[in-house]
């Protein structure tokens, strides 16, 4: 070991005894650039993720917005809140109801407030109340009508209300209310009805707005099948806010539809667009019989589509399995639109 070591200069002096070479500087820069690229890569990676993969819906990880105290709906007797209400907005809705969020978002969703209640006398039984606030009453009717369970029992709580084995569903104004119980017992059913009644009383509607629903002819109408499709009805982009209703008669079935557009020209334009759409997908025009209203008839896939417009209304018959039945329905519908001179 040389004596150089014993008289070694301090480290600091050592490391500055010569300037770094050009190569050293460039290598250093290249490495720093690499680090920056890595940092960028990590940053890009963190933004690409699917929370559905690992999500746990614990209370801590719950919603961020707090409920509006003024809007908190009344509870009913015999129920004890199991926790504070949770509120979801358009961004967080899928946290609560996952993929079903699309349905609500398309129909003009504003907020959802949920809360669980246990029966005060039987805490093992509980129910959860979902209050969806939509932008418009038709939005509420749209989500209500699209999810209507076929084996449901209609209720007279509100204009649109029904009960399933363990749930209660109603549309009231711009609200869509769901109450889901932990089991299908009678006790829970009663409490659900109480809760729903309280809600309806708390959110009165000023006279149901007159909308397209009243225009569907009575004859042959299948009960509880009027529904509202908020967007892309029948697969046609742009055909939105369409009310539909199922009809049966003479062993045939068909669906009537009505949609009120902003202007007369929009209604006629959309009727044309729908006709073109059907023709593109293999439809064949069928000439209307003598004396029929001014309708367009298209045969497609062994079924018949009848389209017409009147004023700002677009209407027609969808998937009629028999031409004469469909045409008869179209005529009745046409009359209901208030065609003068009949």
């Amino acid at each position: 070991m040389g004596e150089g070591l014993k008289n070694a200069p301090p480290r600091r002096a050592l490391s500055h005894n010569k300037a770094p070479s050009i190569t050293e500087r460039w290598v250093g820069r290249a490495i720093l650039v690499t680090l920056a690229i890595i940092a960028g890569g990590v940053f890009v990676a963190q933004s690409r993720f699917d929370p559905g993969k690992w999500r746990a819906q614990t209370h801590e990880a719950g919603p961020s917005t707090t409920p509006h105290a003024a809007e908190a709906p009344a509870t009913a007797a015999g129920l004890r809140a199991m926790g504070p209400p949770e509120v979801y907005n358009a961004e967080t809705l899928s946290d609560k109801i996952d993929g079903k969020a699309e349905l609500y978002l398309a129909a003009g969703f504003e907020r959802l407030e949920t809360q669980r209640f246990a029966l005060a006398d039987d805490p093992g039984r509980w129910l959860e109340r979902f209050v969806y606030t939509m932008k418009t009453p038709p939005g509420a009717f749209a989500v209500y009508s699209q999810q209507r369970r076929p084996q449901a029992r209609p209720l007279d709580l509100a204009a649109d209300a029904y009960q399933s084995a363990n749930g209660l569903f109603l549309a009231q104004g711009a609200y869509y209310l769901e109450i889901v119980g932990s089991d299908p017992s009678d006790t829970l059913q009663t409490r659900m009805a109480d809760l729903a009644r309280a809600f309806v009383a708390d959110h009165p509607v000023s006279r149901a707005a007159k909308d397209e629903r009243t225009l569907f002819p009575e004859e042959g109408l299948v009960a509880d099948t009027i529904a509202l499709t908020p967007t892309n009805a029948f697969g046609l982009v742009g055909l939105d806010r369409v009310f539909t209703a199922d009809y049966v008669g003479d062993g045939h079935r068909a669906m009537a539809f009505i949609s009120r557009r902003a202007t007369d020209s929009e209604a006629s334009g959309l009727a044309g667009a729908y006709t073109d759409y059907l023709l593109t997908y293999g439809g064949q025009k069928v000439s209307a019989p003598e004396g029929a209203p001014p309708v367009t008839i298209i045969a497609i896939l062994d079924q018949y589509e009848i389209v017409f417009h009147h004023g700002d209304l677009l209407a027609g018959v969808h998937e009629a399995d028999d031409l004469s039945y469909g045409l008869a329905l179209a005529v009745r519908l046409y009359k209901n639109l208030g065609v003068p001179g009949e």
Binding site: M1, G2, G4, L5, K6, A8, R11, L14, S15, N17, K18, P20, E24, R25, V27, G28, R29, I31, L32, L35, I38, A39, V42, A45, Q46, S47, R48, F49, P51, G52, K53, W54, R55, A56, Q57, T58, E60, A61, P123, G124, S182, D183
Partner: protein, 644 residues
């Protein structure tokens, strides 16, 4: 900029990145939460994990392919991972620097002299990899044995090669390895052929014990974070508790302190990852070396040598961690990072002897079957070891788990803890559920741990699969274990005290816990009626006021119906009379009455219970819970089925 400064920046960068990954491993979508942060990137870059898993499972799982990049780059550059990237290396280097401060140059050089014990890490590497390798050997050989067209030619080839190597003059190293491999192949084939299901070729993955990245994650997740976050509660609402974390912390502390005395103690003597990269760096293209062999022998270049690789003399390439601290101090500019061999000579290969390597390999090969003798993964399985959802069957699980603690870190309810020796030595620090710690049981609709696991020891699950919904309806929900009521401790079973907390909290629908109603005569509850006024029944013996007014107590005369007790004072009961039946229910003076308590005794339905442990977590019998989940009936091992 000097290269050493660049290195420091790189080390700080990666160390910070490591800490950041540790912090963001909280379930959630805010920027400081899990999102898509590649929190396992260090484990994936670590080729030791990848290689060991390749050996133990003959697959390279998903992100572990990153290890290929590290290995390939090492072939060009040397041990850049150790000196520039490894967060544990950076930590040790920092501690070593602290320990060296104020030291004279000769004393500092003394600390960085190569030490014979540096070969220990190669032994460890050989033993750990050998322990993991048996399964690959078994897999390959079993494949060969099943194909007669391969078996006999291959056996013949092995014998011919061995004989040829023994007969003809070849280089001694070549002959040594050739004979060793040939003999092993022949022996392995013979064993596979004669004893197809022998227990010798068992694989045990234990690299995670010493792998620096796994060690770092484990220490951060189970020791540093719970301690740091304890008072802050930024990352979890409740303080984290990890039984068994103490030895993990002590080990970390030990190596940290040792660094004060010998810089990078772990890297030099223990680290099997460093050893793996060291073995590879013998082929590296760029390496530290001297331009000329004449020098003043001042040894200043060794003052801060991190790897103790003696750059002043014949450099030990496999020990060099590329700290570059030797470049500047040389006043004659003799040392460089070059593509030529050092003019002062170099030791390419690690300082090991063949005998040592063979001994280590043999030790590893024997260790795996020895560990299995405990039977903890097979017949001797410990029912307390309830594994997180997605865990593979125990033997496959052990072949993958690195004990890194990522699942324990991410668990939103913090119910996953490191196992002690419950699952055998092999299962040390592997994840198990402990429903006494944490903020709840294992959440039904959470599969975070299975997605975080870097090695698929917990295979990625969907919530649908976990709950047995959708396409998994046939298979049913995933069961982690099953809850058992301890009737000797359960309040309604053992102490005539109403309690159905477990039933109330059972999250399964329909509930896996149900209750049976039961009438129990209370202690000293038989009395004679002295007088009756309306519903007030005065009894012969004094009562504790209010004792029976809880709504759970009933009064029964003779063999009649029990009548609820509304309240009581020191001498009388007030009955809550059913309307209309008051006459029949009220005891008469002189009647003997009995006070009963109505109990609901919890029962577990084995067909419904999924072992989530919420009941155990909530059970009010706090010490040893009166309802406990054990691994019986867990889905991952059909043999643990309890019911059909």
């Amino acid at each position: 900029m000097r290269i050493t400064n660049t290195r420091r920046i790189s080390q700080i960068f990666f160390f910070t990145l490591f800490l950041w990954f540790g912090i963001v491993s909280t379930l959630g979508e805010r920027f400081f939460q899990l999102r898509g942060w590649p929190i396992n990137w260090f484990l994936q870059l670590d080729p030791l994990s990848g290689l060991a898993l390749l050996l133990a499972t003959h697959t390279v799982y998903a992100g572990l392919l990153w290890g290929v990049a590290t290995l390939a780059l090492t072939l060009f550059l040397g041990r850049f991972f150790c000196g520039w990237l490894c967060p544990y290396g950076a930590w040790q280097q920092f501690m070593g620097w602290l320990g060296k401060r104020g030291l004279s140059a000769p004393a500092a050089v003394e600390r960085n002299r190569p030490h014979p014990a540096q070969r220990v890490k190669y032994w460890l590497l050989a033993a750990l990899l050998a322990a993991a390798a048996a399964d690959l050997v078994h897999w390959l050989l079993a494949g060969v044995v099943r194909q007669p067209l391969l078996l006999w030619p291959l056996s013949a080839l092995a014998v011919v090669v061995v004989i040829a190597l023994l007969l003809f003059k070849t280089s001694s190293a070549f002959r040594f390895w050739g004979v060793l491999l040939g003999a092993l192949l022949a022996a392995g084939l013979l064993m596979e052929l004669l004893v197809p299901q022998n227990r010798w070729l068992a694989a045990a993955l234990q690299t995670g014990l010493l792998d620096p990245i796994a060690l770092m994650h484990r220490t951060f997740n189970l020791v540093i974070l719970p301690l740091a976050d304890g008072p802050l509660n930024l990352l979890s609402a409740t303080a984290r508790t990890y039984p068994g974390a103490m030895p993990i912390g002590l080990l970390f502390l030990l190596f940290t302190f040792l660094c004060l005395r010998i810089p990078r103690f772990y890297c030099r003597f223990v680290c099997p990852l460093g050893a793996l990269l060291g073995v590879l760096s013998r082929w590296s293209v760029w390496r530290i070396g001297k331009k000329e062999n004449r020098c003043a022998d001042c040894r200043l270049c060794e003052r801060d040598c991190e790897g103790a690789c003696a750059p002043a003399g014949a450099i030990r390439i496999s020990e060099c961690v590329l700290c570059m601290n030797c470049l500047d101090p040389c006043r004659h500019d003799l040392i460089g990072y070059r593509t030529q061999p050092s003019a002062a000579g170099q030791h390419d290969t690690p300082d090991w002897s063949r005998r040592q390597v063979v001994t280590s390999l043999a030790a590893g090969l024997v260790a795996a079957p020895l560990l299995r003798l405990e039977g903890a993964a097979t017949v001797g399985w410990h029912p307390e070891v309830v594994r997180p959802p997605g865990a593979l069957a125990e033997v496959d699980f052990l072949a993958r788990c690195l004990k890194c603690g990522q699942c324990m870190r991410v668990c939103p309810t913090q119910v996953i803890r490191p196992a002690g020796l419950q699952g055998g030595f092999e299962g040390l620090w592997t994840p198990m559920l402990d429903f006494r710690v944490g903020s709840s049981g294992c959440q039904l609709n959470c599969v975070a741990c299975s997605h975080v696991c870097p090695t698929a020891a917990l295979r990625p699950l969907s919530v649908d699969e976990r709950l047995g919904r959708g396409g998994f309806a046939q298979a049913g929900p995933l069961r982690l274990g099953m809850a058992f009521v301890d009737r000797g401790r359960c309040l309604p079973w053992a102490m005539d005290t109403p309690c159905i907390v477990c039933q109330e909290n059972c999250p399964v629908s329909p509930k896996a816990i149900f209750t049976r109603e039961m009438w129990q005569a209370v202690r000293n509850g038989r009395h004679t009626v002295r007088s009756v006024t309306d519903a007030r029944v005065v009894l012969s013996a004094p009562l504790v006021a209010g004792q029976y007014g809880t709504g759970d107590y009933f009064c029964r005369k003779g063999g009649g119906v029990p009548v609820p007790i509304a309240a009581n004072d020191a001498e009388a009961l007030t009955l809550a009379l059913p309307p209309g039946e008051a006459e029949k229910a009220i005891p008469a003076v002189g009647d003997s009455v009995e006070i009963l308590i109505r109990l609901q005794q919890p029962q577990v339905d084995p067909a419904r219970c999924i072992g989530c442990g919420v009941c155990e977590h909530e059970c009010p019998v706090q010490g040893r819970r009166a309802i406990r989940v054990t691994a019986e009936n867990e889905s991952r091992q059909r043999g643990h089925r309890l019911i059909l």
